[in-house]
């Protein structure tokens, strides 16, 4: 990280001293705000982890204190009740494949919608945004019937395809707005060099879109990782079910095992955080090391 400008000054005049002081005050203030922001945002995670060690009575009677007896076996119960061994793997398979396909297809489509002008472009773009306006629950029964007729019920593919379809709109929506903001002359030199359309996409546009790509990868992953309704109705086989279905198992008709539920949710959140941390630097590539260095 580069040195802040004010530290480079060697002959500090009075005037600059005051400026420095003001800057320090400003900095402290910024950090103060950020610390509060961090606390407000992380508290629920901390709360979840702490409560994952409580029994039910403590959970509802003293929700904000540390557990009196640490119930480590909650994690064991959680692992079993939520069928984490099989469901976790299924979730990874389904989410990751859907993310890769959605982002790839979405980026390709966005490239043409954003960088080319053709007759139907605007309509196709509008057509895609329609998908963001439908409550998913309205499509459960029709989608179920459709998958039944296609023979895709009870398969991973039968889950991945709707995940792609329902995440394409927001993916395209974000990517198009991003790609549109590049100046037009970017491709022109490439065309002069004789680059094909798809090479421009792969070598010029995609690298430039990296922050937005990171954004949509994260969004897609979270959406798929937490998706419940489609998984509930489209999959019957125990060996194909995904994590959110397992995480619902803690709630019985008249009882809920909250401690174990928190333990299960704590485990389930780890992959999402890993993905986010891995992608975070691309989100803000410009500020870490300049755009070209990879």
């Amino acid at each position: 990280m580069a040195q802040p400008a004010y530290q480079r000054n060697t002959n500090v005049s009075v005037q600059e001293g005051i400026e420095k002081k003001q800057k320090n005050v400003k900095k402290t203030f910024i950090y103060f705000i950020l610390m509060i922001y961090a606390l407000v945002n992380t508290y629920p995670i901390i709360w979840m982890v702490i409560n994952s060690f409580k029994n039910n009575i403590e959970f509802s009677k003293k929700p904000f204190s540390l557990p009196e007896v640490w119930q480590f076996e909650n994690y064991k119960t959680a692992w079993k009740t939520a069928h984490l061994d099989t469901y976790l793997l299924n979730s990874i398979i389904v989410s990751v494949s859907a993310v890769i396909l959605t982002v790839f297809l979405g980026a390709l489509a966005s490239y043409f919608l954003a960088r080319f002008s053709f007759k139907w472009g605007k309509y196709i773009y509008t057509f895609f945004t329609f998908g963001m306006l439908i409550p998913v629950h309205a499509t459960l029964v029709p989608l179920f019937l459709l998958m039944k007729n296609l023979g895709l019920l009870n398969t991973h593919v039968g889950l991945i395809l709707p995940y792609i379809a329902f995440n394409l709109p927001i993916t395209i929506f974000i990517l198009v707005s991003f790609m549109k903001s590049f100046p037009l002359d970017i491709e022109e030199s490439a065309i002069m060099d004789g680059c094909g359309v798809f090479r421009i996409f792969w070598h010029i546009i995609l690298p430039m879109t990296r922050p937005a790509l990171a954004t949509v990868v994260i969004l897609n992953f979270i959406n798929n990782w937490n998706e419940f309704s489609f998984a509930l109705v489209l999959v019957n086989d125990e060996s194909l079910k995904t994590l959110p279905l397992g995480l619902a198992n803690f709630a019985g008709q008249f009882t809920t095992n909250y401690g174990a539920q928190m333990a299960g949710l704590t485990l389930a959140i780890i992959p999402t955080i890993i993905i986010y941390v891995l992608l975070e630097e691309h989100l803000v590539k410009g500020m870490t090391a300049g755009a070209v260095k990879g």
Partner: protein
């Protein structure tokens, strides 16, 4: 306009896969669902055609209008809460700061956490008996301000909206951060030479450059708010009474609890058209400003 625009086939190849998957697995189910809206169907016995009767009933249903009102409430909270807060923190975090990565990660956490956890922890904080908010008010001597946050119809929607704002600020934060990466460093430098810095720079240089992204964020707010479901479903189940009922939840209950697929579909069609109209209107307002 573009040199490549004469050739048709690459466009076709590029768009076809996305369109096909989207059409087959999103559009067809949606269209079928719209078709149900003209039917009376319980999912068990034969369906019968009833024309627009479902829509007539929707428009005369006071609970539906109540839920629309609540959706608009969430929408207002999102547009005027999430977007400015997210923008503020995006600008703050888009600079060289020690621990910047940490704060950016932390800012995104609420989007990652399960809705169940969010509703449980916020529910407990709002709790009238043992909740943190009321205890805090008690400590600072403002006990008369203590409320039954989620149990009182006057406050339930406010409380729920605050949680929703909190939950999704992180989403817009990363969208804005990504957009801010598109502004070349030279522009900041040039404007600083011209004497623009701080707030001025932000308002006159940065905001116009990410204005399109702000519009994107507003549209995402509209589509998200009108379909909002999970959090309210777990946090209040629409109660007390119907004080926090929202359209998507009402549609869900009508479909799967009362098994009135036709009526549920009619509500979802209304959600679709309301969202479309609101996006159109917001586009008119926001685009005009830029010109």
């Amino acid at each position: 306009m573009h040199l490549l625009s004469q050739k048709k086939w690459p466009i076709l190849i590029g768009l076809a896969p996305a369109i096909i998957v989207y059409f087959l697995f999103a559009i067809i189910p949606i269209v079928i669902s719209f078709y149900y809206s003209l039917m009376d169907w319980d999912g068990f016995t034969k369906m019968t055609f009833v024309g627009l009767a479902n829509f007539k009933e929707v428009f005369n249903d006071p609970i539906f209008w109540q839920s629309l009102k609540n959706n608009l409430y969430v929408l207002a909270a999102s547009v005027f809460g999430q977007v400015p807060i997210a923008l503020f923190f995006a600008l703050l975090l888009n600079r060289k700061l020690k621990g910047g990565k940490f704060f950016r990660t932390v800012g995104f956490m609420p989007v990652v956490i399960s809705t169940v956890v969010i509703s449980l922890v916020w529910g407990m904080m709002y709790n009238a008996r043992i909740g943190l908010f009321n205890q805090f008010l008690k400590i600072i001597g403002l006990e008369q301000w203590a409320q039954n946050w989620l149990g009182d119809p006057k406050w339930a929607m406010v409380s729920v909206s605050i949680t929703i704002i909190w939950q999704f600020v992180g989403l817009y934060l990363i969208i804005f951060l990504a957009a801010l990466q598109n502004i070349p460093q030279e522009i900041y430098d040039a404007s600083e030479i011209d004497g623009a810095s701080g707030l001025k720079q932000t308002i006159y240089i940065v905001l116009p450059m990410i204005w399109d992204t702000i519009i994107v964020a507003v549209i995402l707010c509209i589509s998200g708010s009108l379909r909002t479901f999970d959090l309210i479903y777990v946090m209040t189940s629409g109660g007390p009474g119907h004080a926090t009922e929202v359209m998507a939840m009402y549609m869900f209950d009508k479909t799967f609890s009362s098994t009135r697929y036709g009526y549920g579909s009619a509500i979802s069609l209304c959600i679709f058209f309301f969202s479309l109209a609101l996006i159109y209107i917001s586009n008119l307002i926001l685009r005009r400003k830029t010109v």
